[in-house]
């Protein structure tokens, strides 16, 4: 059977996706446009398309591991992969959100042991410095990058990729989209600050103590209850970020002037 494949590289980690469906391969190529690569993949997934089932809105994402073998389950997809062999499979309907979900989980699992994090956050590069804006749903993550001036490069409006490099951190662009359905640019920059978002009547940055910063950040980090070791890695990675990266609370009104604080 002919397989159609593409390799998607996020944060310097190439992951190959193969499917027997040429139309779905085209859908994926479009979704991950800007992040396709010819690099040798670190992981390879065979995607098996199945008929869609009625999605269960109460069905949370479940991630579990046994040794090197991982399982990801949600009502619309199921994935299994082996970190050691670098191979896995995804059973899902022909909907890119399912592939996207598996990619997010896999990247978070790969990142945490290296001291990096995948964070529910928007991020952008201004004058060569990356800034990450994190917060719960509705706090304005997408809004923040949506009103960025033209000279600001958006890394992500939804899921930000923070990678450790020695004692420093970089933020990388991701193709993972949120309410604006806007992919980030595939670039990276030194991480200059992370900001917990709070809407207010003016624009200002307030100090955030390390304990408060860690608690706020952990609420936005992708990690999974079915993986205690991964949770310990994520905790350690978040502590490392809080130790090394300037953290603050960004109080802002929904107005582009807020970007003056990052010029």
């Amino acid at each position: 059977m002919t397989r159609h494949g593409l390799t998607v590289e996020v944060g310097g980690v190439p992951i190959r996706l193969e499917t027997a469906s040429e139309p779905y391969a085209r859908v994926l190529a479009q979704r991950f446009d800007g992040f396709l690569t010819n690099a040798t993949p670190q992981l390879e997934f065979a995607i098996e398309l199945v008929d869609p089932e009625e999605p269960d809105p109460d069905d949370d994402l479940r991630v579990s591991r046994r040794g090197h073998a991982w399982t990801i389950r949600r009502s619309d997809c199921e994935a299994e992969f082996d970190m050691r062999s670098g191979r896995g499979r995804i059973r899902q309907p022909a909907h890119p959100y399912a592939t996207d979900t598996v990619m997010r989980v896999v990247h978070s699992l790969l990142l945490a042991p290296t001291g990096g994090l995948l964070v529910h956050a928007s991020s952008a590069v201004s004058r060569g410095r990356a800034f990450v804006f994190f917060g719960k749903s509705g706090t304005g993550k997408s809004t923040m990058v949506g009103m960025a001036p033209d000279d600001v490069t958006v890394l992500s409006e939804e899921i930000s990729y923070v990678r450790r490099e020695g004692d420093a951190y970089v933020a990388c662009g991701t193709p993972f989209t949120g309410e604006l359905n806007r992919r980030g640019d595939n670039v990276e920059a030194p991480l200059a600050g992370m900001f917990h978002l709070v809407q207010g009547s003016d624009d200002r940055i307030e100090p955030l103590g390390p304990g408060d910063a860690l608690r706020a950040l952990l609420r936005c980090v992708l990690y999974f209850d079915g993986d205690p070791v991964g949770t310990q890695h994520a905790f350690a990675a978040a502590c490392g970020v809080v130790d090394s990266v300037p953290m603050g609370q960004l109080v802002f009104r929904r107005h582009p002037d807020v970007w003056r604080l990052f010029a």
Partner: protein
Amino acid sequence: MSPRYVARHPMTASRQLGGEMIVMSAGDSRLFTLNGVGAVIWTAADGVTPLSEIVAAAVCAGYDVDASVALQDAEAFVAELAEHGMMLVSDEPLASDGGPRP
């Protein structure tokens, strides 16, 4: 009364940050923030030092507190953490993985 030994549960992660000891239970991702005395006990809970010694050496030495009251409070504290699955409490010394020492 026989000595009581306490050890941090292996499925926890903790970090002292800005004067706060923040502890996470890796099993269910709950976060706890310990006060100063709690942090002292948590840090000293190596599974081989009796709780009474930890209280005498680390708590009473650093805080102006009656020894018997301090021990009583410490026992209540470790019992609460044990209830949350964060700490192991035993009448015998505990190995670093939380099990009995061979």
